[in-house]
Amino acid sequence: MFRLKIITPEKIAFDKDVKFVEFRTVDGAMGTLQNRIPLFAALAIAELEIEEADGKRTFFAVHGGIGEFFNNTFTILSDAAERPEEIDVERARRSLERAKVDIESVEEIRRKELEMKIQRALVRLKISEKRERR
């Protein structure tokens, strides 16, 4: 078991002992168990899956950021991390539609921002489905 901490500017979203974490770096999917060698990882805007100490599965929508594994503690620093039940599905859907329309008519510099917006909305929607299934 190891400690997982998810810290966002607003609050500490998660701080518990866990068995396993699966996340996505900008290079691809990764997972880690305890006693991994130290790691710095740049995270993608993607979902994060946790197996807690009691075997319970917890999901987060993580909006990029960085993760550090050191001394059996995995610290994730991200602009936002939301659980399925915290996500405003309607808002994510609206933001996705708006961004999709905007991206057609926008110059190169702003496009990257919009692509990230779309990514965030998509990951929110994906994570929010975990709630509906349960």
């Binding site: 810290i7 966002t8 500017p9 607003e10 609050k11 500490i12 770096t25 900008v26 290079d27 990764m30 060698i37 130290p38 790691l39 710095f40 990882a41 740049a42 990029g64 950021g65 960085i66 550090e68 610290t75 620093l77 602009d79």
Partner: protein
Amino acid sequence: MGRGMQLEIKRKISSVKSTMHMTRAMEMVATARLQFLRKNLKNFYEYERTLSSVFERVTGSIEDLDEVKDLIWKEPSKVMLVVITGDMGLCGTYNDEVIQKAYEREISLGKKFDSFYVIGSKAFRRMKYDGKRIKRSVLESYSRPFYDDAQSLSNELLRIYQKGEVDCVEIIHGYPKNSLIQEVKDEIFIPIKIEKKDHEKFYDFEPRPEEIFRMLVPQYFGSKIYRILLESRISEQNARQNAMRNATENAKKLIDDLTLQYNKIRQFYITQEVIEITNSAEVLKGEN
């Protein structure tokens, strides 16, 4: 002394009283805002501290510094000063102290000074009046700083820097030393000073440190700006709370003084009237 004086003091008392109600209300508003901001900052410190330490260690592990040299400290020749003040007055000398410090810095920079980037309408109005060179201004938007706003502000500062319009960005802002003492701080925002470290060699990097560094830059600067905005806002509300508390206390004292004066005059008239009545009573008695 006439009757008019008595009336006038009464009017003065009621005017001071209504001012006192206002200052007291503003003090209470400042207190409420302050509690909220302090809570924000407390939650945020953990994030900022961890992020700064991660950022330092990642930058310390970069092997080829040439790849990131555009962000690394070198002697600047065109400095932009970001000045953060409030949008409202009634907070003692807070805004003026920040502006004063900015002007002093402008003089000490001499030819290296490029322009001001102004946040807050107080500084904007003053600098416009003084005919300063203002690159851009952001007004009436940060009554409560949001992380997203901080992020877009830092992106804009980065853009100005990366376009080469300036080669150094300094931020002058209020800092709450404690609730009674507000300081003005001058921080270098971009570029950054890197200390080379070796002890992170056993780390896995995913991807390379240089790329992690690139990805971290907006996050790191965004959080730095957010902390500065929070701190300056707290400092402003502290100053306002103190100023309003002093004003309320002064008003109370003024009311006490005026009430005493009013009572003296009232007493004077009563005494005079009593004397007049007794006198005339005496006279009437004598006539009978």
